[in-house]
Symmetry: C2
Subunit: 268 residues, 2 copies
């Protein structure tokens, strides 16, 4: 993993303006795509072992500003993976029943079971991002959530769930171009929401909120990755590679049968 993509350990302050959303570690599009496809193939193999072994799980969290590329990245990165071993959860505005519980209640229900990859499109981090920026709860409430999140993620990690968190980092100019492209394309227009514009106006507040997330919740057991995401092909490479590197370290293997398979005879 190149230096540029790493976040300093928990507790250290970072500034998102120090992270270049156009960074590509010197690769061009074709090189990146070739590399990405190799990692994708390996990801499919590793997922098959994860599912077969059924002892561990992987949780992949995606956060980004609007048009940051969460949908596109999820589609591309998990292209080759068996849909049977993957569950994507899309966290939207909480329902009344969800709001009747603590903020982690609906999240906990969607964590991946053993053998599965869980994908979070947005996540519990919204409760220290949009909730903070829009002052939906007072500071005294959201302030406590960083520690709650760390403890929750530790619970998962200590119960054999590997966790990777990706922030798809685009520039404000890139967002404008992508929102305009959505408006211009009849097949993408449904993705555009006028509600995205007031969020864009609070860009700097969101950056500050994200910076706090990275300094408070970047733990060894659930690290954040700041993914340079202006170039979609580089973004997909960074994510696929990080997932593969993580899974290679999980001790995945096809399980040995608990019977003597050499003596089994299948009757006519």
């Amino acid at each position: 993993m190149p230096e540029q993509l790493l976040i300093p350990p928990e507790g250290e302050k970072i500034q998102l303006k120090d992270y270049d959303p156009d960074y590509t570690e010197g690769l061009d599009k074709d090189e990146a795509k070739t590399l990405e496809e190799g990692f994708e193939r390996r990801l499919a193999e590793l997922q098959d072992m994860l599912y077969a072994q059924s002892m561990k799980s992987l949780l992949v969290v995606f956060q980004a500003m609007d048009a940051g590329g969460k949908d596109g990245a999820i589609k591309k990165v998990f292209d080759s993976v068996n849909p049977q071993g993957v569950r994507a959860a899309n966290f939207k505005v909480p329902t009344p029943i969800e709001l009747g519980h603590d903020f982690l209640w609906r999240i906990h229900q969607q964590v991946p079971q053993k053998g599965y990859i869980g994908i979070f499109n947005r996540s519990h981090y919204e409760d220290v991002l949009v909730v903070r920026v829009n002052e939906i709860v007072p500071r005294s409430v959201w302030e406590k959530r960083f520690d709650m999140i760390n403890e929750f993620e530790r619970l998962l990690a200590e119960n054999n769930t590997a966790i990777l968190k990706f922030y798809l980092h685009i520039s404000k100019d890139e967002q404008r171009e992508r929102l305009q492209a959505r408006l211009d394309d009849p097949e993408k227009r449904w993705k555009f929401s006028v509600g995205d514009l007031p969020v864009r106006e609070r860009w700097d507040d969101y950056m500050t909120a994200y910076e706090d997330v990275f300094s408070r919740c970047n733990t060894p057991y659930a690290p954040w990755h700041i993914v340079p995401a202006n170039k979609k092909w580089y973004r997909d490479l960074v994510i696929t590679r990080a997932i593969v590197e993580k899974m290679e370290s999980m001790g995945l293997a096809y399980p040995e049968p608990d019977f003597d398979y050499a003596t089994v005879v299948i009757p006519k």
Copy 2:
């Protein structure tokens, strides 16, 4: 859809021995694969519209004898589909909590929400198949379930869920070869269960139970397809094609925005 694959309307008796598991409608492997890939690409487009429109859903049910190819078919057919719009449910031996409810309770929880494709790997049909063959409940109980299933599926269909049901039809000889292949391949051995052998011994009883399913639960709103499945490449073509044909008839389209998009200006 060739004649061979159609089941006569509800109420008519069929015999599975009249259905050739080696049938390929005269296609060879390369021809079938080329056709299948075309349908797969179209399926990805249709799924994107289904998700964008978010008014209808599709439920695809898979049933088969062990090694019939459910896992392989799901992996191949939904290869190109965005994992975000698909949810696969794998119904295993019911848990105590599930057994504390009616047999459709756990099924209902997994039906696809609007915009989604739901995949059932096994289903409520197990409650008139394995439950019947193993006499887990008396005939007086499972007999009533055919009507209950039809009414349940009608509820879904009338609430904008299209339903397709696939029985992957392999021969008893093909099953033996595939079970043996699982034993012989270290990467597939985990799929072999010694519990599959007693099930194989009841092959004829299962065929009778399946025949009753097809004559009692083949409704216009939730039709069964008997998929010749000895040849995996033909099986995948039949399923992908049937799904695409169904989705083409669902009136899917990208939604029109509810605001005047031409006047929207995205601020700097």
